[in-house]
Structures are given as structure tokens and as C-alpha cells.
Assembly symmetry: C2
Homo-oligomer: 154 residues x 2
Amino acid sequence: MTRQQVSDDAEALAVALAEARAGRAEGGVPIGAALVVDGEVLAVGRNKRVQEASPILHGETDCLANAGRLPASVYARATMVTTLSPCDMCTGAILLYGIPRVVIGENRTFLGGEHLLRTRGVEVVVLEDRDCIELMREFVAAEPELWNEDIGEE
Amino acid sequence: MTRQQVSDDAEALAVALAEARAGRAEGGVPIGAALVVDGEVLAVGRNKRVQEASPILHGETDCLANAGRLPASVYARATMVTTLSPCDMCTGAILLYGIPRVVIGENRTFLGGEHLLRTRGVEVVVLEDRDCIELMREFVAAEPELWNEDIGEE
């Protein structure tokens, strides 16, 4: 199978954003991710709390699950691209596998574990992408209870 | 369905240990977990890296997945019981959902995010259970490559 090539962070984010939008269209939490290794999209994922009634399938973890079992040497060359600042769980997943670089669509609507990532030596790039911000703002306004459930709040 | 009752941490750990042993019998990574709320076992889980070819199904995350979607008010009364000190991902999952108490079978064979949990206000109890230690020591000696994969190492 030929994998999708991406030439820069903006292109990679567009792949993650397409996942997020697909999630919104399914009635889910619109957060998407892509795992990029050597300029290729190894896997994509999106939050599936609603779709699979799962509290552990966030964009990043679903993406890691879709990538399957990988050796540490592959994670060591990877960039995790996500439309939204990663929550504590997804931050931990990135740290567990030693992923050295994270590209974040935006952190205006939610600020996750970026400080911990940087403390542990991960390069964190925040693009503050307008489309990502708009997608989340619309969703949070429309579905506040679902959003709060997803981040463990009342 | 009547849920299993547990009267103390040792009984709860026995439930998690049974999951870990079931995982070993399946050829998997022998780490198990139980989510206990108000003295009842709400869900159990075990590492399913081998069984489901999943890098995100650790004992604790599989347990959270099996518990399904829960309101924050339930997590706020929960104890996560795990046979082994939680890795970064599982530490993050516990923090995401505001689980206030974690009971750990042992941290001699692997020390995870206990410090971060305590820093964030989580009560952490380490039982240093001999059966948990022995199960992991036997596994790590028998399957070092599988174990290293599970903790993101070469």
C-alpha cells in the first residue's frame, strides 16, 4: 500500500483535520491525529468516544492503535500530529513511546500536557490553526456535555 | 448483573492479578487492573498488546475501556488497582479522569508515573505484593523483547 506523503507540518495537520471533521460528521468529538514517519503518514486516528463508546480512543491513542505494534526505532523517528493540544492520557502515550516531536493544531480551546512534553524533551510545535480552532469552538458550544465528558469534567 | 464486591485493597489486587495471569496464559504481557467504585469492581482489564495487537491496551486503559463511558462523578469515587506501577500513558489516563486513588501491586520490576500522580494529588498505595513481583520477573526473563516493546524501549 502506498502511504500518503506530506511535505510539511501544515500538510500533515490537514490530514489530522480531515479526521477531526469526519468525527464531527459521525456525531463524535472532532479531534484527529496522524502519525508521520519519514514524511509518510503511517496511520491516522480520531476520537471515538461516541462512535465506539470508548473513553480511551482519543485522536492520538486511536492513531497509535491504528499504527499497530511498532518497534521503538520507528517511534523515535515519528511526529504525532494532532488537531488539539493533547490531554494527559495522550501526553503520556507520546512519552511512553518516546515520540520526539508533536505538532498541535491549536491550544486555545484546550491546553493539555505541553509543558510536561517539553520538560521531558519533546519538541512541541503549536500552529494555532484557524480551522482547528473554529471546529472546536463550534463543537464545544454545540455539545458542552460531551466535551466535558471527554476531558473528565462535570 | 451483580458486581463483585471487594472488602480491601488486597482483595481488589487479587482481582487484578487474576487478569494478569489470564494475560500470561494467553501469551500476553501479564499486567492486570480493576476499577473499584464504592467497594464494587466496576470493570477489569489486562494488557492486550499481543492478544489484540494493540499498543494502547495496557491493563489500566483496557480496564477503562471495559468500564465504558462514565460521568466524572463516578471516576471521582474510583480506585484504579493495577498489578504494576502505571506507565506514562496509564498515569495520564488516571489523571485525565481525575481518579483520586491508585493501588499498585508492585514497582520493583518497573517504576512508572507514581511521582507525577502524587504531585497531582492522587493517593498512591504500593503493596509490593510477592505474587505480582514474581509474575513480572518470570515474564521479563522469559520475554524480554515483548516487555521492552510494551514500555517503548529497544
